[in-house]
Assembly symmetry: C2
C-alpha cells in the first residue's frame, strides 16, 4: 500500500516534488480499531497553510510524515463494536490507501442518501463552510445583494445557491468563460464576472450590482477584495473565508489600506474556519441535506481518478482547474 | 456676532486659511424657536471627513457655509415652550456665536451633575463612542487584553478606563512621554507605548502584552493597526473607530494585506460610528454617568479659550496637541 508524505515545504506554488510516495505493508487493526480503505480524498486550498512551518489554529504538517485531509473510507475490518465491515466513515484521515483508526472524530455516512463524494463537498466541510459563513458571519438577509469570489469552486457554488434560495441578488466571480456561463445558466446566479478578462474589477462589479454589495463572501483576497470594498454598501459584511490568491506568496503582499472604508461605512470584515461552528454541524448538515433532496442545491464535482493523482489534484486547485469540489477517487 | 465658514476643502492637513470668519447681526427667534448662545464647541477628528466632497454616512460640509459640530449652548431667549431661558442644550450646532434653532435633535444637560464641557466628552459622543465601541463592536469580556491607540485622546482615555473597570489588562499607544506617563500613572493603564520613540511597534506591543491582544480599539489606522494585527490572538476583535493617521492623506495609502491573518485567526474587524447606536444612547449615558459619579472614570479635557481659536484647535488634533477631549470655550 502507498502513503503520501510531505517531502518539502512548498516555496510558492506547490510542486509534485514536494510530495513523496512510500510503500509499506497494510497495517493490522488492534482491539478497538478499524482497518479503513480510502475511497475518496478531499483536496482543499487551506491545506497549503498547513504545509508552512507556522503556528496557526491547527498544527502544521510535519516533514516526511503523511499529509491528511477529509476522506471517505470503508471499514474493511473492525475490532471496534461501534463500526462494522462495510460501514463508510468520514473525517480527517491520512493520505494512505489503508490505515487503522479508533474511529474517534469520524462519523458514519449513508451512501443511499447521497453519493459518497458528496460527504466531502456539499454535505461536508465545504457545504458547511458556505452555510455557516453566510448565516453566522455574513448575516445574509433575504433580498440583499451577495457577491462571491471563487464562485465556481466548491464553497462558492454552494454560497451562491444559498443566496438564491434566500431570494438574494447573487453575483459571482470566476476565472473562465465556461465557469461564468455555468454560474448563470446552471446555478441561477444573476450575473457573473470573468476576472481573467476584466481590467477594472471595481467597474465590473458596479455594473453587475449597481445598488452595491451587502455581503461579500471572499475566497480569494487581494485585488478582488479591494474591488468588492469599492462597491460595498453601508453596514456591509465581508466573509473572509479564504485568500487563495495569497497562499503561495513568499513576500508579504501589500494593497490599499481598507480601514478608512471600514470606519466610514460601518463595515464588518470577519474571518472564520468552519470548525468554529463544530457544535452546530448537525443543523447545517440537516439543512443542506434537505435542500439537496428538494433539488434546490446542485453540486458540481471534479473527480480525479487514482491515489497517485492526489498531489497533482491539490496543485491544480491553485490554477482553478476544478469546477465545484475537487475530489480524488481512490 | 461671528460665524466660521468652510472656505476651502483642505488638501492634506487643514490650514487656518481653509476657514473664514464672517460678521453678522444676531438672529431673532421665530415662534417655536430658541436663540442659543454657544458656550462650548467640540472639535473632533471625524470632522475632517465631512470637509471632503465625498459621499459618506453624513452629508459633506458645503463650501462657504458654516461648519457644525457638537456644541453646548445656553438658551438666551425662548419662543418654544419646551425650553426656557437659562436652559443648557447640546447637539449638533453651527460654529456661530449665536443661532436660532427649533430644538429638534437637541437635549437638555444638567450643569449640576457634571461640567458643561463633560457633555461634549465623557458624557457626550466621545464617551458613547468608547462605550458602544467596546461593548457592542469589541465585545470586550472581563479579564481580556485590550490595546487602544490614540489612547491619550478623548475616546482613548475613556476606552482604557472602561477596560480597567472590566478587569482587563490595558495597553495604550500615544505620541509623547508625557502622555504615556499620564496613561499609566493617572488612568491606571497597565502599560503604554510612545510610538514616536518606537521603531518596532510589533515588538513593543509584544513586550507590553506577551499573551497577545484580544481587542484592539483603533483610533489611528495604518502601521499601528498592522502592528496590532501582528499581535492579535485567535478570535480577536478590531474596533475600527477611526483612522486619524490617514485622514489627511491625499493619495490612497497602502500597507500589508491583512486578509490572511483575518482568516487564519478568525478575526473580526468592524467599523462603526456612534450614531449607529443612537437608540441606546440613554443606556450609555446612564452607565458613564454612574461611573463618573462613583469616581471610577476620570476625564481629561484640553480647553482652548475663544471662539476665534476653533479652527486652530481642530487643526491641533492632527498634531496630537490635546490630552483627552479637545473643547473650545466660547
Amino acid at each position: 500500500m502507498k502513503t503520501i508524505l510531505l517531502k518539502n515545504r512548498p516555496k510558492g506554488k506547490p510542486q509534485t516534488s514536494d510530495f513523496e510516495f512510500t510503500e509499506s505493508e497494510k497495517p493490522v487493526p488492534q482491539d478497538g480499531e478499524v482497518l479503513l480503505e480510502t475511497k475518496y480524498v478531499s483536496v482543499d486550498p487551506y491545506l497549503r497553510g498547513r504545509m508552512r512551518d507556522e503556528k496557526s489554529y491547527i498544527e502544521p504538517f510535519k516533514l516526511n510524515e503523511p499529509v491528511e485531509s477529509a476522506v471517505v473510507a470503508e471499514v474493511v475490518e473492525s475490532k471496534n463494536e461501534k463500526f462494522k465491515k462495510g460501514d463508510f466513515l468520514t473525517g480527517m484521515l491520512q493520505w494512505k490507501e489503508f490505515q487503522t483508526n479508533t474511529g474517534k472524530g469520524l462519523r458514519k455516512v449513508d451512501k443511499d442518501k447521497a453519493s459518497l463524494s458528496a460527504y466531502l463537498g456539499v454535505l461536508g466541510l465545504t457545504g458547511l463552510t458556505a452555510y455557516f459563513g453566510l448565516k453566522r458571519i455574513g448575516e445574509l438577509k433575504d433580498g440583499e445583494t451577495l457577491l462571491v469570489s471563487g464562485a465556481a469552486g466548491a464553497v462558492g457554488t454552494v454560497v451562491g445557491q444559498i443566496g438564491k434560495i434566500m431570494g438574494c441578488t447573487v453575483v459571482g466571480i470566476a476565472g473562465t468563460d465556461e465557469k461564468v456561463t455555468m454560474l448563470t445558466d446552471e446555478y441561477g446566479f444573476d450575473a457573473a464576472i470573468n476576472y481573467s478578462k476584466t481590467d477594472d474589477m471595481t467597474a465590473a462589479i458596479k455594473k453587475a450590482a449597481p445598488d452595491g454589495i451587502d455581503v461579500y463572501f471572499d475566497n480569494v483576497g487581494s485585488y478582488t477584495l479591494d474591488a468588492a470594498m469599492n462597491n460595498i454598501n453601508r453596514f456591509g459584511r465581508v466573509v473572509n473565508c479564504g485568500a487563495i490568491s495569497l497562499y503561495n506568496e513568499t513576500e508579504q503582499p501589500t494593497g490599499p489600506r481598507l480601514e478608512t472604508t471600514i470606519v466610514k461605512k460601518s463595515i464588518k470584515m470577519q474571518g472564520f474556519i468552519v470548525r468554529n461552528f463544530e457544535e452546530d454541524f448537525q443543523e447545517g448538515i440537516q439543512q443542506l441535506g434537505s435542500w439537496l433532496q428538494e433539488g434546490k442545491l446542485k453540486h458540481e464535482e471534479t473527480i480525479v481518478d487514482g491515489f497517485e493523482k492526489i498531489p497533482q489534484a491539490f496543485i491544480d486547485l491553485f490554477d482553478g482547474k476544478n469546477k465545484g469540489k475537487m475530489v480524488v477517487k481512490v
